[in-house]
């Protein structure tokens, strides 16, 4: 059995432990924790490089088998196509690290997408009165919608102790229904060029969604690896009881991770509608599955406490690169689904082997 209290580890290469980390380390079985340290860190290195190695192999194979794969235009495409799932998966990482799950992100994508779109459409019939409003307002409202959905899920999970699976399953259904109610089931077209910039614009040739993904990643990495809040997230997921006894406000941590996931899902919804040019009520269906897949492929454990956001980013890139590469080679999308399935299960099997077989 993995020792949960000791499975929390800083990013490899990180410097001196803080007092809080020391406290966390001492929560578990001290005798075991000392012995685990070296092998655990080695294991984490394998984990880190394992997924990175898999990614490099995939890129190498695709580069050899298709002349267009490694062109600047295609690299930009892959990053663009990964951006939405990447943002969702990073939010999902926060939740899964606390032993939770957020099944509602696909529906929140649609809800935030359509509500924000109704503020930034130049269509005379689809928007709310007075639209289009300034882009900042549309984006602010989309974010608020996402945050509100996350807050409701978070509240239900943290305060009422409803299993995350159930609470977010409820939100999956409710948010989709609200999307259909809000837009009368119709799409909101004709989004203003200023709003569409977040999905279609670029800075020095780098697509805006890719820059947004990079910022989301950097901030999340910083939160998870450099802040007390981040350490608490690992602690809560690793061993909730120990975390509680050491004085961490579990309820608050659990609440906030769903707010983060909801907010990022709201943002992803706006990226999607900005990219397609129209907010569709049926957008984002099953997106939660790709987000969870990226997190799992990236080595984050569904039992909480173990994993890194870097892995998630690589997991999302693996999915994106695979879909893109198979499209380039003209392989039917059915095979893509089979491969993705194998990849998810394979990644977790490796994970289990690491945890139990080492």
């Amino acid at each position: 059995m993995p020792n949960h209290s000791s499975t929390y580890q800083p990013e490899p290469g990180q410097g001196v432990r803080s007092a809080a980390e020391e406290k966390m380390m001492s929560v578990g079985d001290d005798k075991k924790a000392k012995g685990w340290l070296g092998s655990e860190q080695r294991r984490l290195l394998i984990q880190e490089y394992g997924i990175f190695l898999a990614f490099l192999i995939l890129v190498a194979v695709l580069s050899v088998s298709n002349e267009f794969f490694l062109t600047a235009g295609n690299i930009s495409n892959v990053l663009l196509q990964t951006s939405i799932n990447g943002v969702l998966a990073i939010g999902m990482t926060f939740v899964i690290l606390t032993r939770g799950i957020d099944l509602s992100v696909g529906s929140v994508v649609a809800l935030a997408g359509i509500v924000s779109a109704s503020f930034v459409t130049s269509s005379a019939t689809a928007g709310i009165s007075g639209a289009p409003y300034p882009v900042a307002l549309g984006i602010g409202i989309g974010l608020l919608v996402g945050i509100a959905c996350g807050a409701v899920s978070g509240l239900i999970v943290s305060r009422f102790s409803v299993p995350a699976f159930v609470a977010t399953l409820g939100m999956l259904s409710a948010a989709r229904g609200l999307t259909l109610i809000y837009g009368g089931g119709r799409p909101v077209p004709a989004l203003t060029p200023a709003f569409r910039w977040i999905g279609t614009g670029d800075v020095f040739g780098i697509p805006a969604p890719v820059i947004i993904l990079a910022i989301v990643f950097a901030v999340s990495w910083w939160i998870l690896n450099r802040t007390r809040f981040g350490r608490y997230i690992y602690a809560v997921g690793g061993n909730p009881h120990a975390a509680r006894t050491s004085g961490i406000n579990i309820t608050r941590i659990q609440f906030v991770v769903y707010v983060i996931s909801g907010g990022l899902a709201g943002f992803a919804g706006m990226l999607l509608s900005a990219r397609t040019g129209s907010a569709l009520p049926q957008a984002g269906i099953a997106y939660e599955l790709d987000a969870i897949a990226a997190v799992v492929i990236g080595g984050t454990s569904l039992s909480g406490g173990v994993g890194r956001v870097t892995g998630t980013l690589i997991g999302a890139l693996i999915i994106g690169v695979m879909n893109n590469g198979l499209d380039l080679m003209g392989i039917q999308s059915y095979y893509q689904q089979v491969l993705k399935g194998a990849l998810i299960v394979g990644a977790v099997m490796l994970d289990q082997k690491r945890n139990y077989g080492a």
Binding site: F68, N74, N77, L80, G185, R275, S278, L280, N323, Q332
Partner: protein
């Protein structure tokens, strides 16, 4: 005293309404799902039918939620509640047959609309022949590229009746242009976002080679347009076609970016409702919808036909404003 008055008033109202309901014809409509624009126009058209507005018919619309089993259960409900006729747009060609059977066993006429069902027990069917639309859209693309060059096809979910028939039509048109090569041919599941990703990747895999895009519905054609724009290419240098005539596509046609073929949801819905009332009344009924005068090619024929084919309307620069005016 006051309470008595209210009780009395509501009792009278109840009696009156139940007496009225007995004279009314009860018709149930079972569309496969109400999440997309096409079926919403379809359902709204039912509510706007003269016989519904006048109160002659009591109409209930059941959302099939894209699930054959849900639809089957809804049929059970309608049979138990003794509906006089049912309008049916099944999610699946074969899975819908069992539902039709259960209604036929109870002696309730079932009128098909929009999507087909493999059943001889269907009283009548009002829909549009997808092989024709598939042929027409491919033809506009091939005409525009002068019957030579390369095209890609964005297909619907493989196995759905519309995908099968539209592909059949696509292939028929392609057979007339042997010099045209189909570079890619994949499903994007009717989805704009999926088609956009696919087209982005195809534009990379076949740089400067794709001349035409045959989208089996408008959503996917619109996704291809976004991909072309994102790649910094000129949309107007491509021949792009879709089917259905959804609002976004009408705008794109107006902008000269694509062509579309309107599938008349309103005619399919109101035609089916007229036939449902006709059969519920055992022939004692004259159709009330204006669609029978609009489409001279689809005569009423005393409601006797097994299949009513609603003609397709190609969306052109000339009629697009008029069509947009109907979308409020």
């Amino acid at each position: 005293m006051k309470r008595w008055m209210i009780a009395l008033a509501s009792a009278t109202a109840l009696l009156a309404s139940s007496a009225m309901a007995q004279e009314k014809i009860k018709i149930g409509a079972a569309p496969y799902g109400l999440n997309a624009e096409f079926m919403q126009i379809w359902a709204a058209a039912l509510q706007e039918h003269p016989a519904v507005k006048s109160g002659e018919v009591e109409l209930t619309v059941f959302d099939g939620r894209y699930d054959a089993l849900v639809q089957q259960d809804q049929f059970k409900t309608m049979v138990t509640q003794k509906y006089n006729a049912i309008i049916f747009a099944p999610i699946d060609v074969d899975a819908g047959a069992a539902a039709v059977q259960s209604a036929a066993d109870a002696g309730i006429p079932v009128i098909g609309s929009n999507t087909r069902v493999n059943s001889d027990l269907l009283t009548s069917y009002v829909g549009s022949d997808d092989t024709i639309s598939g042929y027409l859209e491919a033809k506009t693309v091939l005409d525009k590229i002068g019957c030579k060059g390369n095209v890609v096809i964005l297909e619907g979910p493989v196995g759905q009746s519309a995908q099968i028939s539209r592909l059949e039509g696509n292939k028929k048109a392609l057979a007339e242009c042997p010099d045209v090569k189909v570079l890619e041919d994949q499903t994007a599941n009717w989805s704009r976002a999926e088609a956009q990703t696919l087209m982005e990747n195809w534009l990379t895999a076949h740089p400067k080679q794709i001349n035409g895009v045959i989208g089996q519905n408008d959503e996917m054609a619109l996704g291809a347009i976004e991909a072309i724009k994102a790649a910094g290419l000129d949309v107007k240098s491509f021949a792009i076609a879709g089917i259905d005539g959804i609002t976004d596509a009408l705008h794109a046609v107006k902008a000269g970016e694509m062509t579309s073929i309107l599938q008349d949801a309103r005619a399919q819905a109101q035609g089916a409702l007229d036939l449902a009332i006709f059969n519920a009344r055992k022939g004692d009924y004259k159709p009330q919808s204006d669609i029978w005068t609009t489409y001279k090619d689809m005569p009423w024929n005393d409601g006797k036909e097994k299949i009513y084919n609603v003609p397709w309307t190609p969306v052109t620069a000339e009629n697009v404003d008029q069509l947009l005016a109907t979308r409020k």
